[in-house]
């Protein structure tokens, strides 16, 4: 798979007010690829995601999506270009029911309500339940389902397996594999784990807002791992 990148981050600098967080992030995701982004707590992974999605506007650098310069674009426009987001901390719409969460922003495509219900059968009897009453893991599934229902061409998952039971995590990994086989690209942020190593085609590690390592995760030296990930 030597296609041109669908997402390309060039030397991104971002800050929250006066707090400089990203100091040169470089990253590429190709079509149908699963790319993972790793780093210890507070290193800027989520900030990178926010910068891609237009929630935060980087003050330096360039981001291209499908060869469109998206830096500085409003976030809904970026999403409409095909970027789907499972944000950190779920951010489900607590004042809506499960069903409303799923269909509110959906776009016609492969993923529809039925497919989500087959993937997460637990929602079948909870469709009209207020989503704030879901358990933590269920909320996480809802956030994943919601993003899938926008049928994106790039799916970004920020700690998407947090709080999911091993069975469900496995399910998610399988779905991601399947989805990427269909040509959808995936950027995933997670803790390093065997599954992540298996599934990701390529990985980046952030350290204090800078890309400091990239490559096949299975090939990472234990020194680098110790240095950048603490294990």
């Amino acid at each position: 798979m030597n296609k041109s990148p669908i997402l390309k981050l060039d030397n991104i600098y971002s800050s929250y007010g006066n707090v400089q967080v990203l100091n040169g992030v470089n990253l590429q995701v190709r079509k149908g690829e699963i790319v993972s982004l790793l780093g210890r707590n507070g290193m800027g992974k989520s900030t990178t995601v926010k910068s891609i999605c237009g929630i935060l506007k980087p003050h330096l650098g360039n981001i291209e999506f499908n060869s469109v310069r998206i830096i500085g674009m409003q976030s809904y426009k970026i999403a409409r270009l095909g970027v789907g987001l499972v944000p950190e901390g779920r951010r489900i719409f607590a004042n809506l029911t499960v069903k409303e969460n799923l269909i509110g922003s959906s776009i016609k495509g492969y993923w529809d309500l039925d497919k989500i219900l087959t993937l997460f059968p637990i929602f079948k009897e909870r469709l009209s339940q207020l989503s704030s009453n879901l358990s933590g893991g269920e909320q996480q599934m809802l956030a994943i389902g919601r993003a899938l229902m926008t049928n994106p061409s790039l799916l970004i998952l920020d700690e998407a397996t947090e709080g999911l039971s091993p069975v469900i995590s496995q399910k998610i990994w399988n779905v991601l594999r399947k989805v990427s086989n269909e040509g959808i690209s995936i950027l995933i942020i997670d803790k390093i784990s065997q599954e992540l190593k298996d599934v990701s085609n390529y990985s980046y590690i952030l350290e204090r807002g800078k890309s400091v390592w990239s490559g096949k995760l299975s090939g990472i030296s234990s020194d680098d791992s110790k240095l950048f990930l603490g294990v």
Binding site: Y76, R80, A94, N95, G104, A147
Partner: protein, 307 residues
């Protein structure tokens, strides 16, 4: 007291309820669904009534003035939303209170500047003048029946718009987390402008419809404002159904209370005391009702309790 009178008062209560619903319909969208505390609702109501009255004075056509009422209010609403209100969604509720309070001052004084301090005139069209017999022996004003009719249409419209289209879902989602709904591809600013415009248009329409039988004057919006908030809160914020039921409930309680309390009191004290004590309680009734409902159901009749 005759049965007819009682029935008529009951009808009056229902009718007043519809009127209340009409008054609060716009606010249900802006405050209930979008979550913006819009104290300037009454000003939009007033703007609707004044544009109608001005149009009426010019063209002498009721229907044209109705058209003017909601289009002017919608335009003002959209302009205000685009220039001022949209900067407030991410702010504290209190900033919204302050700005929309300032808008009241601004609009009231502006309207007075343009139209002068005396009330204006709007009249019922020939078609709706007079009464018709609704049951045997019970006559009812055609215009008030017309108000009921419009109230029903708006109720259905809102119910459909908010409950049955994705628009409603997206707006409510935006109320919870604007950033997130944008990140999912929804142009929430545009939706908010649209909804604010619709809300303003409804307020303006209500101003013209009700101004026609009450009065068109500066400050006419202020009593409406409080009433509209009362209705929405009793019904439960965000629930169109709640607002509708609360309107009818308040309409009935207020009307029948005003009418029956003095009558009941007359049996225990002399008529004139009964009358003044009765009407004192009568004027507190809506607030007593609201306090009781909120004490029993802290999120209103149909409000959702988020956990």
């Amino acid at each position: 007291m005759t049965a007819e009178l009682l029935i008529e008062q009951f009808l009056n209560g229902l009718q007043f309820g519809f009127m209340l619903f009409l008054m609060s319909a716009g606010l249900t969208l802006i405050f209930g669904v979008m979550g913006l505390i819009n104290l300037a609702h009454g000003s939009l109501y007033m703007i609707g009534a004044f544009s109608a009255a001005a149009t009426f004075a010019f063209f002498n056509s009721f229907w044209l003035s109705l058209l003017a009422s909601f289009s002017c209010a919608a335009i003002v609403g959209i302009v205000v939303e685009k220039t001022i209100i949209r900067k407030l969604y991410n702010r504290d509720h209190l900033d919204q209170v302050l700005v929309t309070f300032a808008l009241i001052l601004f609009f009231s004084e502006l309207v007075r500047w343009i139209f002068g301090a005396f009330p204006l005139y709007l009249d019922v069209p020939e078609l709706l003048n007079g009464s018709i017999e609704v049951f045997s022996g019970i006559y009812y004003s055609k215009y008030r029946l017309f108000i009921i009719f419009v109230g029903l249409i708006i109720a259905v419209f809102l119910f459909f718009l908010i409950g049955k289209t994705n628009l409603g879902i997206q707006i409510r989602a935006g109320q919870h987390d604007r950033e997130m709904i944008s990140a999912l591809g929804v142009d929430i600013s545009k939706l908010y402008t649209l909804l604010f415009g619709i809300g303003a248009a409804l307020a303006g329409l209500a101003g013209a419809l009700i101004g026609t039988i009450q009065s068109v004057e500066v400050g006419m919006g202020e009593p409406i404002l409080i009433l509209a908030f009362v209705i929405i809160v009793i019904g439960g914020i965000g629930s169109i159904k709640g607002a509708f039921i609360a309107s009818l409930l308040v309409g009935l309680v207020d009307t029948l209370g005003r009418f029956l309390i003095p009558w009941v009191l007359q049996t225990v004290t002399n008529p004139s005391d009964a009358m003044s004590v009765g009407s004192a309680i009568g004027s507190m009734l809506i607030y007593i009702l609201m306090a009781i409902i909120l004490i029993l159901k802290p999120t209103g009749l149909y409000g959702k309790q988020l956990s």
